[in-house]
Subunit: 134 residues, 2 copies
């Protein structure tokens, strides 16, 4: 496989690009993180979602602790080359470390409050053996 | 309406947060841009997608030139408060300045090439009166 495709991406000043993880079947947006060149090339090679963790400054193989890995079906690039989508199959049906399907569970109400808009499917304490890092 | 909700957001060092625009009906991811505090508060007040253009360093009322405005139905915030979704109704059915539904029209092929995966619905020359800026 060629690697020229990595050069088409406009990495930011930190060598990163935003990545949106979208459920392959439902279209639900699961989470948003970042990838560097290594994370993206490994994700494609291993056919699973891999990110660059800015807080931990290391590669982040989604699900390495929780088991909630994301099988990578497709990678999409936007028109100006600075934003990606991973279209994934979310193993366990839970992307969020809070035990929800999606990380985007807070919805702004008309009164100007963040309201929880989706349920916890699994107790985070039962997902992780230690402190959640995902 | 309160503005406390703006304080819940973890703005980055430049005062920005990534915003994903998702079609309200289909779930299609249309584009990804950034908002600052002013863009987000105006978007909510005006019920339309407003971003902060990093290249132009100014507020970007999506569709101000093309007419392809995005009516804002919902704003979602992720678990760690540093990523947003605008759930929108895309007027004209075209979010991309290339005349496509979505900006994410390049898909990585198994051979490692970016392939165009969706069609141009409208000639960009007929969308914009001048050089596309959206």
């Amino acid at each position: 496989m060629q690697t020229d495709w990595l050069d088409a991406i406009r990495w930011d000043a930190n060598g990163l690009v935003p990545v949106i993880a979208q459920d392959w079947h439902s279209g639900t947006i699961l989470m948003q993180a970042f990838a560097n060149r290594e994370a993206l090339s490994l994700a494609v090679a291993e056919k699973r979602a891999i990110y660059w963790s800015r807080s931990r400054q290391k590669l982040w193989r989604k699900g390495e602790e929780s088991g909630h890995i994301q099988h990578l079906h497709d990678v999409l690039l936007d028109c100006d080359g600075d934003s990606l989508i991973y279209r994934v199959e979310q193993i366990g049906g839970i992307a969020c470390h809070t035990g929800r399907v999606s990380c985007y569970y807070q919805r702004l109400s008309p009164a100007g409050m963040w309201e929880t808009s989706s349920a916890v499917l699994k107790d985070p304490g039962k997902i992780y053996s230690s402190v959640p890092k995902d």
